[in-house]
Symmetry: C2
Subunit: 335 residues, 2 copies
């Protein structure tokens, strides 16, 4: 599919393909915009760039507050740059529209990476619902790839479903933890451990070394109880110190080994096909509900129907069918 780009979008595409970080930033802004004309331009831009996407290693990183995510990304980012990667860091923080802040808004947090030509850093879009953040982040990954970034890190603070969403748009998911003195449940949101392809216990430095070793051993033990997602890849817990760099290079080795495993086994290709199909259906569902809510006939009926459901006066199953019959005509089910 070839998209015809308006002149300014065509120029943006040219600059973005050249790897200009400013062009990438502008393109992501376009994709994040709620304005209809921006949205349409973004779609055309993305369509034109599709052939140049898909070639990066997409790395999801999450962890509870206090695990040291910024310091870790800074440390692993520097190792990656030294190995020749061009690095894009995207943040997913569905809470930023509530708190008004953004986890990467404070530039000081990744001072060692900020401003380097091989690095692109993008804070979470604000003022969006969770599903919207996921969509824009998927599109930002594609844009970063078209701009030549071959390592895309998607960082999430882990609000709501964000870890699941990030795991569903990346090739590998890292869970970063701090040593916690034996209490394995503290701070880890349930459901997140099983998403991890590698668990990292950070802060293995100073007085924490023994605790980090113990925690990594405990997590590794727990992880061996879970069924591996991929043949040939046992999810393990390793320790590192993002502060002094211990273990960071080994973690980057593991990341690269995982990528080799995914690529050589054909799993990467399959995983991305599944992700693209899931994205299509997620969009269809969101778009359908959006169109339903804004449809004049439905918008008029909906408050009354919702009230009847709340009051237990109508069966939700029946209410749903009647609403949709009103929109589509009587369904085959009701003849």
């Amino acid at each position: 599919m070839t998209a015809t780009l308006p002149e300014d979008t065509a120029d943006l595409a040219v600059r973005l393909r050249r790897g200009e970080r400013r062009a990438l930033a502008q393109a992501i802004t376009l994709a994040e915009s709620a304005r209809v004309d921006h949205r349409m331009k973004a779609e055309r831009l993305l369509s034109a760039l599709m052939p140049e996407t898909g070639r990066s290693l997409r790395l999801g990183i999450s962890g509870p507050p206090g695990a040291g995510k910024s310091t870790f990304i800074e440390a692993v980012g520097q190792v990656a740059i030294d190995r020749g990667y061009k690095l894009a860091i995207l943040a997913v923080d569905p809470s930023s529209n509530i708190s008004g802040g953004s986890i990467l808004g404070d530039k000081v947090r990744m001072a060692a990476l900020t401003g380097r030509p091989e690095v692109f850093i993008r804070p979470s879009p604000s003022g969006m619902v969770s599903g919207g953040v996921a969509r824009r982040t998927r599109e930002a990954i594609l844009l970063a790839e078209a701009a030549g970034f071959d390592l895309v890190i998607v960082e999430t603070v882990g609000v709501g479903q964000s870890e699941t969403e990030v795991a569903a748009m990346t090739d590998m998911f890292l869970l970063l933890l701090a040593p916690m003195g034996g209490d394995m449940l503290q701070g880890i949101k349930r459901g997140v451990m099983e998403l991890a392809d590698l668990v990292i216990v950070n802060k293995a430095d100073g007085n924490h070394i023994a605790a980090a070793q113990q925690a990594a051993a405990d997590y590794s033990h727990a992880l061996r109880l879970m069924r591996p997602q991929y043949d040939g890849w046992q999810v393990e817990a390793v320790q590192c110190s993002a502060l002094n760099g211990d273990g960071i290079s080994e973690i980057m080795d593991r990341v690269e080994n995982f990528r080799i495993l995914l690529e050589s086994s054909g799993i990467l290709q399959k995983r991305r096909v599944v992700q693209a199909t899931a994205w299509l259906w997620a969009e269809l569902k969101e778009d359908l509900i959006e169109r339903l809510k804004t449809h004049p006939a439905i918008a008029q009926l909906l408050p009354r129907v919702e009230a009847d459901v709340r009051n237990g006066e109508i069966l939700p199953t029946m209410a749903a069918r009647k609403l949709l019959d009103g929109l589509f005509g009587v369904s085959k089910r009701s003849t």
Copy 2:
């Protein structure tokens, strides 16, 4: 809303209101049926019965294989009957259409309850997708309530999203565990602990008493790290032996205390309103996707569009919009 019932359905309603277990079984079969005429009869029956629903205590129970769910339900069920409850037990097992079996299919499993006039037991419907099982179980709860059952236990084996679904259709969610020798992660699916209103460590008998005590203490400690869902209710872990009955009566006390808390604080009413609204939207989403898939214009386009998405030839966002524009006419977004 008053529904006019066809003669045989009207007769079914009369018998069901009288509390006839056979009528309840027939009504649930009607609701589970894939046949259009059955489905329409079920909807009319349910609509007619709506005013008589909502008065039971809806109790969700889950736990990993080996926790002793059947024995526990049998034990707690007998205590409940002794306290005057009429008990309906419904099973949710989305895997039963794969395994061909059903967790309550083996009648021997609850021999002490089977056949008693105060007890109704219904295995999981087979041959249904997960969403369908959830819908039918919600409807079965309503039918059981209309038949006068005032304690409805929904048991799930915990496949896929079934615990979340069961928690979303019940008033209280019990998580049943076996003592596990200190390894807290073994056997518990992540994301399930946070659904629990009460955690129960079963098998506190024989050689397991010390391990069960330790496990209950460990879980209680972990649960105190989580923010309580309700003011005045700290989720705790208690121990029991379904085998010899130790602790079962105390658990039923806690269940009844929880119900009193929910009712007196108005939380029960709010929770059910939220559940009914969520059910409406779940039905709308499922029904919309169903109608989308079966719409002739879409059905013709879909395979091609899905292939393009899989091959990375079209952006999923754009593919979704184009499909829906084809169905609804061009959306406002694209003008």
